[in-house]
Amino acid sequence: MARLLEHKAKEVLAGFGIRVPDGYTASTPEEAAAAAERIGGDVVIKAQAFVTGRAGKGLIKFAASPAEARQHAQELLGQNAGGFPIELVLVERKLQIERELFAACLVSDEIAAPVAMLGSRGGSGVEAMASRGEAVLAKRPFDPEDGLDVRTAAAMAEECGLPTRMHSAIAEVLQGLAQVFLEKEARSLEVNPLAVLRDGSLVAADCHFSVDDYAVSRHPELEIEIAREIGHPATPLEKIAAAYEETDHRGTFYFLELSATGKKLVGFHGAGGGGSMMSMDALVRHGFTAKNFCDTSGNPSAAKVYRACKHILAQDGIIGYFASGSGVASQEQFHSARGMVKAFREWPLCVPAVIRLGGNKEEVAIDILTRFLGDLPVPVEAYGKDDSAAFCAERLDVLVKAHPPVVPYECVPTARTEPAEQEYRFDIRTGSISFDHAICASCEGQPCIASCHAEILELVEGKPRLKEPAEESAHRCTECLACELACYNVGKRSIRIDLPIPGFEEYLAKRGAK
C-alpha cells in the first residue's frame, strides 16, 4: 500500500540523516525479547498498524526487561487493530523526552505546492490546539524542486518560540523532511512527536508517511505492495486483486475490503470514481453497508469484470450484490454483463442482485443479464441510465427482504465442464479457450464465429478454428467472452474459457470457503 509502516518510514528518515530511536522489528515474541536484549534497558513495543492513537488503544507498551518485552509482544501480535491482525511490532529504546514538537510536510491543493509545518507542541490534535491558541503552528510553502531553504526553516522555529540555540537543529530536521518528501514523492510526511531529548538532540519518535500512489513504481526501494491508499494492511484478497491488476492494463480493476461489521452487508461493484461513490452513498441511505469497494471502469475487458465479480462473491456474509456506476457510461456495457453472467453462474450467485449498467449499449447489457440469469433461484434485476442508483438500492432492499441468501446449489455454468473428447485449445492473453470439436460437429449455426468481436475464428471442415496464422490471431482475442455465451445460448456448451486468478483458488482453499 502507498503508506509506510512506522518502522519503514523511520528507516527512510534515518537514510536522510534524521535521527530515529534505536530499534528492531519483531514478528514473534522471541524476536521481541532478543531485540530488547540487544537494545538494553527500558524499551517500548509498538504495534505496526495503520491506526491512529495507538497509545490510547493499548497498542504501545513499555517494558523494563526482555521477558516483559516478550510478554507484551505476545499480547500484541495477532491482536486485532482496525479490523486487521497485527503481524509485526517495533521494539525501540525508550526515549528520555524533554519536550515534544510536531513537524510535517504535506501537499496543499489550494496553492498547488508542498507545505512544511512545525508545531510548538506534539501529540494528537496539534492543529486544534493551534486554533485554540494553545500551540503555535508555523506553516510555509516550499519549492517543489528546490526544497525548503534554511532561512525559512529557521524562521519557523523562531515563530514557534523555540530557543535560539535549537534553531539550526530544527532547521536541519525540517530541511531533511522536505528533502525526503520531494525525493520519495510523498503525499504526506508527519513526525509526531518530534522529540527533544535532555541533551537537546531531536529524534523522530513516530512517523506517518504516505507516498503518491502514481509515483510508487518510481520508488521500488520503498517496497510498497499495493500502490493505493488503504486504511489497513492489505488483506489476502486485496493482494490477489492488486497482483492480477498489475498484469492486465485494460481498464481499471480495483478491489478493497472494508472492515465492515455493519448490518445488511452487500457486495458492491461500482464503475468509475464519482459514480461508484454516488452509488455507494445510495446504498448507505437504504440502510445497507458495503462489505467492499470495487471499481471496474475505463473500458475493462469482460474477463476483467468476471474476475472482479469473483472477488466480490468470495466474501462471507453478504446478503445482496449491488452493481452501479455513474449511470451514463461511455464504455460498452455488454462486456460487463457477460463477465457477470459467467461469474454468477459459475460461483453460483446465492443472493439477490441488482445490476445497473447504464450508458453505451445498455439495452444489450440488460438483455444479456435478464436472459442468462433469469433461471437462478435468486432474483437478478438489471437496469439502465434512466433508473437511478437510489431506485436500484430500493429495489435491492425489497429483494433482500423477500429472498434471504440460499445455500450453494447446482447451477449450469456457461462453460463446458466435461473434459473434451476432441479438444481444440489455444491461449489468450490472460487465460485459454478450449473447444470440444466433438460437440461442435453437431452444431449448425456456429454462433461462436459470428459473435467473436475480434473476428479471429473461422469455420474449417465444419468446426470453429483460429484464422491462419493461428499464433497471430489468438492474441487478438479481446476476451469479450461472447463465444462461450453464444455457445451456451444454443445449448451446446462446447466452449470453456479459463480465466485464472493467481492465488485465488489457494486463498479459497486456505479459508475453507465454498
Binding site: 501537499v107 498547488a112 504526506s188
Partner: protein
Amino acid sequence: MSILVNENTRVVVQGITGREGQVRTKLMLGYGPKVVAGVTPGRGGEEVLGVPVFDAVQDAVKQVGGIDASVVFVPARAALEAAKVAMDSGVKLVVIVPDRVPLHDVMKLAKHARQTGAVFLGPNTLGCLSPGKGVLGMMGGSPEAARKFFRPGRVGISSRSGGITSSMAYYLNKAGIGASTIVHVGGDSIVGLPHPAVLKLFEADPDTDLVVMFGEIGTTQEERVAEMMKRGEFTKPLVAYIGGKQAEEGTRFSHAGAIVEGGRGGYQSKVDALRDAGAVIVENFEDLPAVTGRVLAKVER
C-alpha cells in the same frame, strides 16, 4: 459566451498520432472547435485526419500561427514535459487528459504555469465542452454522442468526476436544462483549474445564470468555494452534490483526490460550509435536475 472553449478556439493536439489522440481529434474536428495542428515528436510532416503534424509545439506555432489551447494525450509520465513545452511556446490553456500523472509532477507543472502565465485543466480530466460550440478533450466521446447528450443553455457545470459529468449533463438535458459550459476539473488531488477557479470564470460569464457542482470528499475545493461565496466573489446560485458519504478516513476509494486526510476534506464539513454560504445541497443525486430546474426558474423570472 461560454468559458474556456468556444467555436473559435484554436487547438493543438499533443500526442495526435496515438490511439486516444486520433479518436479524440475526430471528436473535436466533428464537434468543434478548430484543430489547427498536432504534435508527435519524430512524426512531423505527416497528417492525421487532415490535421498537419509537427515535431514540436514551437514548430506548430510557427507554421499555423496563434494557438489558444493544447490538449495533451501523452502517457502520464510524459505529461509534465509535454505541458511545459506547450506553455513555453505561449499556449495559455493546456488540457491534460491522462490519468495517473504523479502528484509531484503536477506541483512542478503548477510552478511552471505560474511562471509562464498559463493555466491547465486536469490532469485526469475529460476536458471541457461548450454545447454547440466546441470541446477540448474527450467529453462526449464522439460528435454524435456529444450532440445527443449536451444542449446549449444557461447552466454551468463543474465536476470532479468524469462519469458524473456525463450523467449530470444527460439528466439535466432530459429535464430540459441546457448548459453554457461543462467542465470536468479532474479527479486528482491537485488540479490546475479546481472548482473555485472554474466558478470564478462562470461568475464572469454573462451567459451562465447558475452553476451545478459535483463535489467529493478530499481536497479543499468545496470549502474554498464556500469562502468565495461568503466573500461575495461568487454570487450566482449554486446547486451542489457531494459524493463520498460512506468513505472512511485515510482510504482512497476512487479518484486520487477523493481521500480524507488528517480530518480534512470530510463529507460533513463540505456540506456544512456550502450550506452556510447559501448553496443548495442536493442529498439524492437523482433530485439534481428537479432542484436545478426550480432554482433556475427563480433566477430567470
